[in-house]
């Protein structure tokens, strides 16, 4: 059926398979390390991960990292990441290579915030990369902090999931994973 669909159209599987973005999972964060398994597959090449309502339990500003995983997290020192951003009018930047995880953001307490990243080919046998942005509250600078974030892991492993990792703190929030429909 030709898009745009209109009221009264009956959509079949072929129509639905043309939708651009398909929700794969939604997960509530509650631990320090939150592993989300069996979301990446050969069905989609690229994915979007969206998180909202991010909190940490203590109120102390701490980092939140990502690791990619198969049956367990890949903890090899092959991650690279960078970020630049602002809090108020103050710029900052940071990054690392040869790291054992990739830093997404930092946050404090229950003021909320979130991140959104596109993940490029995590289940394809080439390097897995991501890019996106985060906006979270940090008590150490008494401000919401906006980051442009990018990174990945330079391995050819075909990952099936990822972990969102707090540092000491239990995290809160909701993480939704979408797959971009392949042409």
């Amino acid at each position: 059926m030709t898009y745009p669909w209109v009221s009264g159209d009956v959509l079949n599987a072929a129509d639905l398979n043309t939708l651009g973005l398909v929700r794969i999972s939604q997960t509530t964060l509650s631990g320090v390390t939150n592993s989300i398994s069996n979301v990446f597959s050969s069905t989609y090449d690229n994915y979007r991960i969206v998180a909202h309502g991010l909190t940490n339990a203590s109120g102390t500003t701490r980092a939140v990292d990502i690791r990619f995983r198969t049956s367990s997290d890949d903890t090899s020192a092959n991650y690279f990441w960078s970020m630049y951003g602002y809090y108020g009018a103050t710029p900052f930047n940071s990054g690392a290579g040869g790291d054992t995880s990739a830093e997404l953001l930092s946050l404090s307490g229950t003021n909320g915030g979130g991140f959104s990243i596109d993940v490029h080919g995590p289940n394809v046998a080439t390097a897995t990369t991501y890019g996106g942005q985060s906006i979270t509250y940090q008590g150490n600078v008494s401000s919401y902090v906006t980051r442009m974030i990018g990174g990945g892991i330079g391995t050819a492993t075909q990952y099936t999931g990822f972990s969102i990792i707090g540092v000491t703190d239990n995290l809160g929030g909701t993480v939704t994973v979408y797959g971009y429909t392949n042409p």
Partner: protein
């Protein structure tokens, strides 16, 4: 608000929709302690 609960690792399987939880392994706990020492960005303006 507390820093920790007995369930340090929460695992969600998108195929089954089930959550499971477990404490850190010794290796994971050591890794987390290393992470705790990493600098936070951005640091306070006057720090």
């Amino acid at each position: 608000m507390s820093d920790n609960t007995p369930d340090d690792v929460i695992e969600f399987d998108a195929l089954t929709g089930k959550y499971t939880s477990r404490p850190f392994t010794d290796e994971e706990r050591a890794d987390n302690q290393l992470r705790e020492q990493a600098p936070i960005t951005p640091s306070p303006p006057n720090a």
